[in-house]
Symmetry: C2
Subunit: 433 residues, 2 copies
Amino acid sequence: MSGTVTITGVDVHDVRFPTAAAGDGSDAINRGDYSATYVELRTDAPDGVFGAGFTFTNGRGNEITCAAIRALSHHVVGRTVGEIFAEPVAFWRSLTADVQLRWLGPEKGVIHMSAGALVNAVWDLRAKLEGKPLWRLLAEMPTEELVANIDFRHITDALTPDDARAILDKGLTGWEERLAGIERDGFPSYTTSVGWLGYPDDKVRALTRQAYAEGWRAMKMKVGGPIDDDVRRARIIREEIGPDALLMMDANQVWDVDEAIANMARLAEVDPYWIEEPTHADDVLGHARIARAVAPIRVATGEVAANRVIFKQLLQAEAIGVMQIDACRVAGVNEVLAEILMAAKFGVPICPHSGGVGLCEYVQHLAIFDYLRVGTSLEGRMVEYVDHLHEHFVDPVRTRDGRYLVPEQPGYSSTMRPASIAEFSFPDGPAWR
Amino acid sequence: MSGTVTITGVDVHDVRFPTAAAGDGSDAINRGDYSATYVELRTDAPDGVFGAGFTFTNGRGNEITCAAIRALSHHVVGRTVGEIFAEPVAFWRSLTADVQLRWLGPEKGVIHMSAGALVNAVWDLRAKLEGKPLWRLLAEMPTEELVANIDFRHITDALTPDDARAILDKGLTGWEERLAGIERDGFPSYTTSVGWLGYPDDKVRALTRQAYAEGWRAMKMKVGGPIDDDVRRARIIREEIGPDALLMMDANQVWDVDEAIANMARLAEVDPYWIEEPTHADDVLGHARIARAVAPIRVATGEVAANRVIFKQLLQAEAIGVMQIDACRVAGVNEVLAEILMAAKFGVPICPHSGGVGLCEYVQHLAIFDYLRVGTSLEGRMVEYVDHLHEHFVDPVRTRDGRYLVPEQPGYSSTMRPASIAEFSFPDGPAWR
């Protein structure tokens, strides 16, 4: 895998897209300019191959994650790809458990997201060097090598290395048949582009009708405004999509625990498939109480779950019926591997969080790897889809009839177009001047 | 209270003390240069009064919290003290739920710690304007005003405004008698200066002997190294302090859940009073399992508990027997008020985390307020004491016979000496050049 290629430098770009003005991406608690703290790992490879990674932010403050990536970069620069993957947990901990920087999380928020951008860039680099899309690199990887990439510290009470080995070995059987299926049919997904809180009723109805015509049979709306408004908008969407399509709801954490239970009793009339982020993202016990109260409606969460320890507890407490991993909130591919395996151990399907900047590009690889090698079923699996900002990526997601097509180019689909970086760099790019 | 005083600007200082070289502050997971992201709120007050606040970091990365404070400063500049305290929850949320910056936490890590520095500076400013130490400002505050300073969102399933009112009203009875007692005797504390992991056995023995001679009857050691070493060092300390003094242990999160249970079975022979941070700080369910297994040894945690929602769950799950609030990990005084009241509701004593830079200066006010108005008992209450870096503060903590003396100067004891700021500013101060 060209393990002698050395990382010679880290370029950090503060890239911001002026989405706030349009109301795109508005929900009960977030409203901003979708941004990426984008990094490229320069190398000494003769063909100029580089690793690309990013973390997603919401506009203001993207300079803070840029500063955090710079503070972490010395753990990456000067290392060869071979060295990193010879001792992957030691590498991962150099970023997540730096004896001085760990205090700034620990393992959460700015410093952990920034570690994630770098970890993902390293995986993109390796996948490019091997000439494979990331999902294939992972799906073809021997079980022992996958296990060696996971830091089991703090999760052995839920998943041991032996548990992981058993799951991954089992996934070796039939993965090529499963691949043939999704290469033919695509990977199931759902759309969140119909019901942002910032949209008026007629726009919600028109977008829902359009999405249904395009083939989408699962759609997500935002809730968490005045409950009567939420009910009215939910009825509009249910009218448009009929009784069989799935309608998911996302409260973006605005409710208290008892409030979530009361509001879902009102919204139950439109048969929601899941309620996402019904309360504060850190409230494992609260999610567990809500899950018991709103069943059979599933509780879903994860887009801001800080790390694998939060996911571990959500699973242990039976607090979630759907696990929404994120590719760059946590510290990159290594940590997501732990999360995917824990979900399999506890029998909870993964439906990755997506949208933002480049999240669709990232998570398609993770969902496909999960299906091929870990979860091995499409039952209850869907990748979120938001139709924003794909044009800024060199290898953007492709969809057909409401399904993702399997990505084919080498890497993690995380490389941004140079023209987009230049145009939207903050504060000096032409878009911001 | 001179409510018309306007905050005209925010000065942010990256102050770092080169403590790493001495091994001071070394434990199983942290080792760094104790640092403060220090802010002063300039005002238009004719006497030049300003508000001082800070958050503590561990060296590298202090520039990241500085950047975060700058990103939040526009919520503070231009506001009067009167406006802020007329709608304190709205002010607090402007910092903690900014629609763009919240994504960087949410309510955790860099962005939340930085909000805490600003919130604390505002409280310091108000206390100075009223000519009172912060503990007195809070202890004398009418119940309704205290309640109005707390954001109950996401904690009403554990503490309602009515719960808070009942506790605070009850605390009005006898607070002046309680004050007279601690003004006479000081406030109980314990020392962590004896058993850092970086210290050799003979230094541990000498420091323990010295601390005992100085009057300390409660001491904390670090554990989490090889278990045989931990047992050997624990025996040394127990030999020196005799059977009656309290010996606390702090594992700084290195253990897995089952490992913590096994290691505490070994360490039980020296009769530990509590085990602090036995596993990952986010692992509420893990702490609860450990607490059941190691009883009657208490589980203590909190120095990196990200926010009030984590503390809420630790209390709900009966995971802690001692609650260690921190003054500047969470978003300042307002959030700590919620935590102190939740602890009282659940009957768990508070022993604040301290040490670092200026944490002793901060938390003495919180512990005294808790005793005077909320907890109303000294049973099981102790403030951590670490004998580091107090000389850099204008109003440093004072101790006598292992007890804190009640601070008397107006404010939150958070003002740093100008000469220290200049000397230790990073990277341009003389100490770093």
